[in-house]
Symmetry: C2
Subunit: 252 residues, 2 copies
DNA sequence: CGGATTTTTGACCAATGTCAAGACCGGTGG
DNA sequence: CCACCGGTCTTGACATTGGTCAAAAATCCG
């Protein structure tokens, strides 16, 4: 299994160094809609920015948080890709998700008050840390923040059930490729071509398939002109066809 | 597919008629810890009770809420069992969960602001309706209520990922039986014997198996002395053995 | 360039799904 | 009380998807 190269958490970056692109970042972040001055008063805005710590860089295999650690904060991915996974005591890994810039992780840790999974960097990653006690307090004062938190949590329940059904390998892979494309597009990246940052084995694990099956299906998709794959680079060629395959899984 | 016999929602019961067992009910409800006078001041308590509407009875097949309806409230099951399910436009059903008394449904509707699934009674069901706007307002005023909501949402994310992994039919069924037993026990019912209210087909769908497989596995479990099944009545005979089977799925 | 890791490919296999038939069960009406 | 009916559940025979194993090919990095 992939193990961390470094020791785990790194000390916070000097926030000042990041101020330059803070606004740019916030525009794609999970809290963007409340962070950015969209009808939110300056004081509240500052309070939210105040409680955010910028942390990074993490490198491939580094752990942002680890299963069992006491829960203290939510994280938003600021750059790079993070996978969340559970490893049982016999070493079986279960990949729970892949998280792109602007997406929030740690939401499943609130209730047990411990992180129930590891969050592992798949490449060079920067994150924002939101102290949860501070965030709760703020949420009680600012309805928009509270609502945003409820929304993030609720949306995560919906996402989690997306792949929960019984579907063929083709359906799952088609949905996976489209879903990633849509999420990249939503964050302002190219809509039809991107890099699969994670190894095939992780994709397979996430989709409950064997790595060999992922390989074979991608190959077949390419042979049929649905996508073009070169190593980890993917280009979506025939989106309607993929969408048709994925129709049982993806949101209408 | 099972269709509703009646038209759907029924008018609210007269709350006064239920006052008698309100306390008893609250002690097993998802909001019990905040509703009951455990350090919570009387005024707040009253405000929470105020916004609850008791609704029912629903009968087998009746719909508590339906996919696509505008989201306005969370529901707690008060009696009976509710299943949540999605039906795609080709009629394929996907069962998302079974909900026992004291459990909350509708949490996945907050974000899309519409119910993303149907909630269907499997037998005679009573629910409590929590107006969400009212609940949010209250949450902003009472930290315990806010925290409770965050907890409920977060726990649901965790639950949803429980069966998300790749597991054998045996593992899944063992986990399913134990999970139900634990949830019944947590609500004060018998810990080792209960009635499977739902048809085999629903269990199968939920666990991504064929109904025939459910049938065969239950049979085998019985032959091996792990459980005793008689129609929909189940008794757990060898819990340690089941737990061993389910060890990859169930919480430590 | 060389070793490790990841990915691909082929051959085979097993778990589970599918199909079909029959048993069971609860309710209904004669 | 019994026969019947519709739905549910079980069982058996068979089919199929996707998993497993093994080895070769490609890729990555130092």
């Amino acid at each position: 299994m992939t193990q961390m190269h470094h020791s785990g958490k790194l000390p916070p970056h000097n926030p000042i160094a990041d101020d330059g692109d803070e606004v740019h970042f916030c525009s794609t972040c999970a809290f963007g809609s409340v962070c950015l001055p969209s009808g939110l008063n300056k004081t509240s805005l500052n309070e939210l920015h105040m409680l955010v710590e910028h942390i990074g860089p993490f490198h491939d295999g580094d752990v942002v948080f680890r299963s069992g650690e006491r829960f203290g904060a939510l994280f938003a991915v600021r750059a790079g890709m993070v996978k969340t996974r559970q490893v049982d005591d016999e070493g079986h890994e279960q990949v729970l998700g892949f998280h792109l810039p602007g997406e929030m992780i740690g939401l499943d840790a609130i209730h047990p008050a411990r992180y129930p999974c590891d969050a592992v960097a798949l490449d060079t990653v920067f994150v924002c840390r939101f102290s949860f006690p501070a965030l709760s307090t703020l949420a009680a004062k600012i309805p928009d923040v509270q609502q945003r938190l409820f929304d993030l949590l609720s949306a995560d329940i919906g996402k989690t059930s997306r792949y929960s059904g019984d579907h063929t390998a083709d359906e799952r892979l088609a949905a996976f490729l489209l879903d990633l494309a849509a999420r990249y597009a939503a964050r302002g990246f190219a809509a039809n071509a991107y890099r699969l940052v994670m190894p095939r084995a992780d994709i397979a694990n996430y989709l409950r398939l064997a790595a060999e099956t992922v390989s074979r299906v991608l190959r077949r998709f390419q042979d049929h002109g649905l996508i073009h794959v070169d190593g980890r680079e993917v280009e979506i060629v025939d989106k309607p066809a993929l969408r048709k395959l994925a129709r049982h899984i993806l949101p209408a």
